[in-house]
């Protein structure tokens, strides 16, 4: 009896060992087959790259308090369609998967996992938000997924070199400094600042302070807040001559309306993140006449060839979608992403893509000039002031 059990056990073990050996051999064979790099001219096996297409991903809010930033997807897609219509990149068509992160870091994290682990995107483009991107990079960094165009200028990204992240936006320090400097150029002695209580807001606030301006009153707010009457009352009581608004669109609108409710109309300066064209209707008393920091040039009535191409492509490839400043963000970021792809020499891999991006110097885009190197992935350096007037953003003398 015991001998039979030993024999059965030996047979079982042998069977298991055989199964393991076959499995190991299969795994090794599969790994060998899947390990070749993709060529710019032949069939490919890098994630997201085939012989006919290159797949890129995006996470951006399409719902929630920052839903309007989702308009950037149309800009990215319009540029991809424009490029595809002109031959694509290395004979391949560009494809985009854009997921809604609702401006919530946990959702952004899950979306990024889906893009990287399930959809196997080659790279990401036009990724929105500071807190959301901080969640995303926990997946993107270990996998060395290139990301071109973070829709944030927070110092946690712009001030820190990460091999796989490429900024397109100007730094919030740059923008804050511009706003602070412009307020001083208007000879306003008392300036208040309303800022969002996260890295987005604090980065901009630091930039304001870097201009040499000492705010008379700096008040934080929570992105979910709707009642801004306390802040409006405080700024009015402090008799500030100007308020710098470092906020997302919803709270900016609510704050402007709260200022109107207490009959207080200081000079208003705001981040390009804050201002949306709908504010001409949603905050009709306080938004017109506001000064806005910008890197996207005014889009209406422009003779700028970059603007004309953007508007034409949006009309052709994304009819019915607003050709807004947010869409222009996406277009600009896509321009940089595609320029990097086109600069790849040899096999299309994530490493060769990053090397190609590092070689981009003096790249002219809709939003400005891009200069990368292996030690500098900073975005556009130049910003200027525009003004909300007559339903549009218009250039400002001395801005």
């Amino acid at each position: 009896m015991s001998m039979r059990i030993v024999q059965q056990t030996r047979c079982g073990l042998a069977r298991h060992a055989a199964v393991l050996a076959v499995s190991a051999a299969s795994a090794l064979a599969l790994a060998a087959c899947g390990g070749t790099s993709s060529s710019a001219t032949s069939g490919a096996s890098a994630p997201g790259v085939t012989s006919t297409s290159i797949l890129l991903g995006q996470t951006v809010p399409k719902t929630g308090p920052a839903a309007l930033y989702g308009e950037s997807t149309a800009g990215v897609q319009a540029y991809f369609d424009y490029v595809n219509a002109h031959g694509g990149v290395h004979g391949r068509k560009l494809k985009l998967i854009s997921l809604n992160d609702q401006y919530e870091p946990p959702v952004a994290l899950q979306d990024t996992r889906t893009l990287v682990n399930t959809d196997h995107v080659f790279a990401e483009v036009a990724v929105n938000g500071t807190a959301t991107t901080q969640a995303d990079i926990t997946v993107l960094d270990p996998a060395n997924v290139p990301v071109v165009g973070l829709q944030t200028g927070a110092t946690v990204f712009v001030g820190t070199l990460r091999n796989n992240l490429y900024n397109v936006w100007p730094s919030y320090l740059t923008e804050g400094k511009l706003l602070g400097s412009y307020a001083q150029s208007l000879h306003i002695t008392k300036v208040g600042v309303l800022y969002q209580n996260d890295d987005f807001g604090t980065s901009l606030l630091q930039g304001v302070k870097n201009s040499g301006l000492t705010p008379t009153l700096s008040i934080p707010y929570d992105p979910t807040q709707t009642d801004f009457s306390p802040q409006a009352a405080q700024f009015k009581a402090a008799h500030v001559g100007a308020v710098i608004i470092l906020a997302i669109p919803g709270p900016t609108t609510d704050f402007l309306n709260a200022l109107n409710a207490v009959s207080f109309k200081p000079v208003r300066l705001m981040s390009q993140v804050s201002a949306i064209p709908q504010m001409f209707q949603t905050a009709p008393q306080e938004f017109p006449g506001s000064y806005i920091g910008a890197f996207i040039p005014p889009l209406s009535g422009s003779t700028n060839p970059q603007v004309k191409t953007f508007l034409s492509a949006m009309s052709t490839y994304q009819p019915g979608k607003p050709a807004s400043a947010f869409a222009a963000w996406g277009w600009t970021e896509a321009q940089v992403a595609v320029a990097g792809l086109k600069a790849i020499k040899g096999s299309i891999t994530r490493d060769s893509y990053e090397a190609a991006l590092n070689s981009l110097h003096g790249l002219q885009t809709l939003g400005g000039v891009i200069d990368y190197s292996s030690t500098d992935h900073s975005g556009i350096a130049h910003m200027f002031m525009v003004k909300a007037q007559g339903g549009h953003r218009v250039s400002v003398a001395g801005g």
């Binding site: 308090p65 009457s229 009352a233 919803g250 207490v262 009959s263 949306i276 709908q278």
Partner: protein, 291 residues
């Protein structure tokens, strides 16, 4: 002192909105013993309908407002008839989960139907704020305050002096006995839900011009309105109104003198203290059982 007065006066607007929303929540709770967590989402639908009537159909805002509120009433009655009646008799947790599910469902459908971008809806009154001494009060804030008080007083007389109001109180007191008296419980519950959602819808439509009209517009307001209803004593109409204005004023003072970040924390801390000292809320009544 001016800042203090301005903070208090500025709180009338949102205090009134919290009061109206808390009233809507209380009306439903009084009759059906259900806390309708979807009240904010349902109210947003009312505001969206008002926007559609005013912008797409070109109706005057006052007419759009009335039509939307009537529509909100229909929505409330339908929600009770279709969803809540289904879980009648089940443990209370089932009703809570049902309304939480309705919150997510309604919010999602609202976004699909109207999109997520902010929409413009005009105020009932236009024109500059009114100066009262050193402070300014928005005309619409005054209207909201007056409306909240008028609705509360109207509901008080309704419940105290009308046959339908008596029927509602009877059902709330003892549904079985009320049924034996010939009062249709189902009809009373449907009417209560209709009125409750309509009143909360009024709050949303009044709030929309000041804050961005989006599918999630009422999320933050709903939290404060719920706090107001609990503070006032869940089930008390006077408590809902008093709680709404109290929460609005306290929240504004906290934001003005401490920090916006502490608003929710300190408002709920206040509620915990009040409920510790007076578990039935400010205006709630202690239930006594004779043995």
């Amino acid at each position: 002192m001016t800042v203090f007065l301005q903070l208090v006066v500025s709180a009338l607007g949102f205090g009134g909105i919290y009061a109206l929303a808390a009233l809507g929540l209380t009306i439903i709770f009084k009759t059906s013993n259900v806390v309708n967590f979807a009240f904010g989402a349902m109210a947003t639908v009312v505001a969206m309908v008002a926007w559609t009537a005013n912008v797409s159909l070109g109706l005057p805002i006052a007419l759009a407002w009335v039509l939307a509120i009537l529509g909100g009433g229909a929505l409330g009655a339908a929600a009770e008839s279709v969803f809540l009646r289904r879980v009648e008799g089940a443990p209370p947790i089932v009703g809570i989960v049902m309304t939480l599910g309705l919150l997510l469902l309604v919010e999602g459908l609202t976004g699909l139907a109207w999109g997520y971008g902010p929409k413009v809806i005009p105020n009932v009154f236009s024109g500059p704020s009114i100066a009262i001494g050193p402070v300014f009060v928005d005309r619409n804030d005054l209207f909201i305050t007056g409306l909240a008080l008028a609705i509360a007083i109207g509901l008080h007389f309704f419940y105290a002096r009308t046959r339908l109001g008596l029927a509602v109180r009877a059902v709330a007191e003892d549904a079985e006995v009320a049924s034996l008296m010939g009062i249709s419980r189902r009809w009373v519950l449907a009417v209560s839900w209709a009125v409750g959602v309509a009143v909360t819808g009024a709050a949303a439509t009044l709030a929309a011009p000041s804050i961005s009209l989006t599918p999630t517009m009422m999320d933050n307001i709903a939290v404060f309105a719920f706090a107001a209803a609990v503070l006032g004593g869940l089930g008390s109409l006077a408590g809902a109104v008093a709680g709404g204005f109290a929460v609005g004023i306290v929240a504004n003072l906290i934001a003005g003198y401490a920090s916006t970040n502490l608003q929710l924390t300190l408002v709920f801390a206040l509620i915990v203290v009040v409920l510790y000292l007076r578990p039935q809320g400010l205006f709630g009544r202690v239930a006594r059982v004779r043995q």
